[in-house]
């Protein structure tokens, strides 16, 4: 980290290797589009490299996360006129979500149905709610950290998460049965 801050490109590239999967996973879950997510992550790393001198700690991961969230928002705002189909590769037979190993075909089918239904339901909530839910449920940030990352109050974060979950359940509708015991 110190070497990267000193301006050594190789050291910064090691940081990129370390965080690129994390950033891409978080961003693609929020924006629901792989191209947009990749652009946002690329912009985030560019911006981070340009402004390394401005990083004052404590968490480089959180700093990167904040930059990536802003980049994703910017790109989404720019591409609002041209909405992309979410996860088009899911419709493509060439790629399917990896199924758990050592499960029977019924279990594999169930998991596939669950994931498809959840992906559709996630489309039905707002970007802010999605970001809050992903940061809380997937990335493991707490309310205060999410509030800091997104620049809103803790109460707003809680509200976004709870309302988002309730809306997800409504959007799942009958498919909710797939998730019950």
């Amino acid at each position: 980290m110190a070497e990267a801050l000193a301006g050594r490109l190789a050291a910064f590239d090691r940081l990129v290797e370390l965080y690129q999967d994390y950033l891409f996973g978080m961003t693609v879950r929020i924006v629901r589009d792989r191209d947009i997510a990749e652009d946002a992550v690329q912009e985030a790393f560019f911006s981070a490299y340009r402004n390394l001198e401005r990083f004052s700690g404590p968490s480089f991961r959180a700093w990167l996360t904040r930059i990536a969230l802003n980049a994703a928002k910017d790109i989404l705002r720019k591409r609002k006129r041209r909405p992309a189909e979410p996860y088009p590769e899911w419709e493509d037979e060439a790629w399917q979500p990896p199924a758990p190993e050592a499960e029977g075909p019924e279990q594999i089918l169930l998991v596939a149905q669950q994931r498809a239904a959840l992906a559709r339901a996630m489309e039905g909530i707002t970007e802010d709610q999605r970001a809050a839910i992903v940061l809380f449920d997937v990335q493991g940030y707490d309310y205060a950290e999410i509030a800091e990352l997104t620049g809103v109050s803790v109460g707003t974060v809680k509200s976004r998460i709870h309302r988002g979950r309730v809306t997800l359940r409504e959007r799942l509708g009958p498919a909710m049965e797939l998730f019950r015991g």
Binding site: L9, F12, D13, V16, E17, Q20, D21, L23, F24, G25, V28, R29, R34, E38, V41, Q42, E43, A44, F45, F46, S47, Y49, R50, N51, E53, R54, I67, N70, A71, D74, Y87, E89, W90, W95, P97, P98, Q114, R115, L118, A119, M122, I133, V134, D137, V138, K158, S159, I161, H162, R163, R165, V166, L168, R169, L172, M176, F179, R180
Partner: protein
């Protein structure tokens, strides 16, 4: 009197539609709730099947989101050396980025403060009592100088204000020219000696007739010129277009037309440059500004002479309408006015500077300009640094 019954604790409504789903969501997420809310949420989950189902579903959704699969990443986000060099930017950009650091956020208010102080100093220097602006004679007062008696202005005391002298020094329009209606010339003001001398009276009367005829001819030209100047003095144009009946009326209308022309010449005169003014003034002195030479000459002379900073529209206004023999004299008068009004304050300023050294208004102005420039430069730097700030780092 019976005692009031103690208030019962609020019971939740039986209809699930009236239950608060967000409260259930908070309970399901394990958020800390205040005691009443915790009790109510627990009661709802325990006694309402729909609320219990909602809580279980929300937990399941939360777990499912965490296990949502991801499409594979197709790009490697590492930065190559060429891209890194471009991202670093020029030294100027790096400097501006450094300026936009949080530590330098005080730059903007400081720049605004310095700029404001500088502007204050400049205003104070401009309105300082010793820095009075050069008095400009009003245009209507200057127009009577176009009369044949305008040369009398040379005899006026220098202390009199320009406007006052112009008004008083036009006796030809009011008193100097005998009126035909009155039959007795010069009875209103001045020229008392003519009353005793009949021959002189006849001579003056015939001279006045000649002058009236000349004015009538001039009025026609002046009316054309005034019409060309537009609608700024429609009344005067209308008056001039009429046939003059008496000498006094002719003289009065002559003055009206000249006044209207002087008014119309003011805006144009303000735009004229000093380079234009000088040749015009000198031409007027040399007698080149012949009277009744047409509206074209008048239009040329008016703005040019008007730019001499001293109320010189007088010269332009009178040049086309002054009788032949008096044109050079009137022009000299106007030029004298212009020169007098500009040279006197200049001399006074020079005197103040020589006595007091650097005048305070100059000091204020210089300090103000320096501060304003410094503040403006800092503000520009702050603006540039703000522009160079990465928008993703907000």
């Amino acid at each position: 009197m019976r005692d009031m019954p103690a208030p019962r604790p609020e019971r939740p409504p039986l209809d699930h539609e009236q239950h608060d789903p967000l409260l259930i969501a908070q309970l399901a997420a394990g958020d800390p709730l205040i005691a009443d809310q915790q009790q109510l949420a627990a009661h709802l989950v325990a006694h309402c099947a729909a609320c219990a189902s909602l809580a279980a579903d929300l937990r399941a959704v939360s777990a499912a989101v965490a296990w949502e699969p991801l499409p594979p990443r197709r790009r490697d986000f590492r930065i190559d050396a060429e891209r890194a060099e471009r991202l670093r930017g020029s030294p100027l950009r790096r400097f501006l980025r450094r300026l936009s650091f949080p530590e330098t956020t005080a730059l903007r208010p400081a720049a605004v403060g310095i700029l404001s102080i500088g502007l204050l100093f400049m205003v104070a220097g401009a309105v300082w009592p010793g820095n009075d602006p050069v008095p400009v004679p009003p245009a209507p007062a200057a127009s009577p100088a176009a009369s044949p008696a305008a040369a009398l202005q040379l005899e006026m005391p220098a202390e009199a204000p320009a406007g006052e002298s112009a008004i008083v020094s036009a006796p030809g329009t009011d008193a100097g020219v005998p009126g035909t209606d009155a039959g007795v010339p010069g009875t209103e003001r001045g020229a008392p000696g003519l009353e005793d001398n009949a021959a002189a009276e006849v001579e003056a009367f015939s001279a006045a007739d000649v002058q009236a005829d000349d004015r009538a001819a001039v009025d026609t030209t002046a009316a054309d010129s005034a019409q060309e100047l537009g609608a700024q003095a429609p009344a005067a144009v209308g008056m001039a277009a009429e046939e003059p009946r008496t000498d006094d009326q002719a003289a009065a209308r002559d003055d009206e037309v000249l006044r209207a022309k002087a008014l119309a010449a003011e805006p144009a005169a303000s735009a004229a440059t000093a380079e234009q003014a000088e040749p015009a003034a000198s031409a007027a002195i040399d007698g080149l500004a012949e009277p009744a030479t047409g509206a074209a000459d008048a239009e040329l002379a008016e703005p040019a002479a008007g730019a001499t900073e001293g109320g010189a529209p007088v010269a332009g206004a009178m040049s086309p309408t002054v009788p032949p023999g008096e044109a050079p004299l009137a022009a000299v008068t106007a030029e004298g006015e212009a020169a007098g009004s500009t040279s006197r304050p200049a001399e006074a300023t020079a005197l103040v500077e020589s006595e007091d050294g650097l005048p305070i208004e100059s000091v204020l102005m210089v300090v103000g300009v320096v501060l304003a420039l410094a503040g403006g430069l800092l503000l520009l730097l702050a603006w540039l640094s703000r522009r160079s700030t990465d928008p993703l780092l907000r």
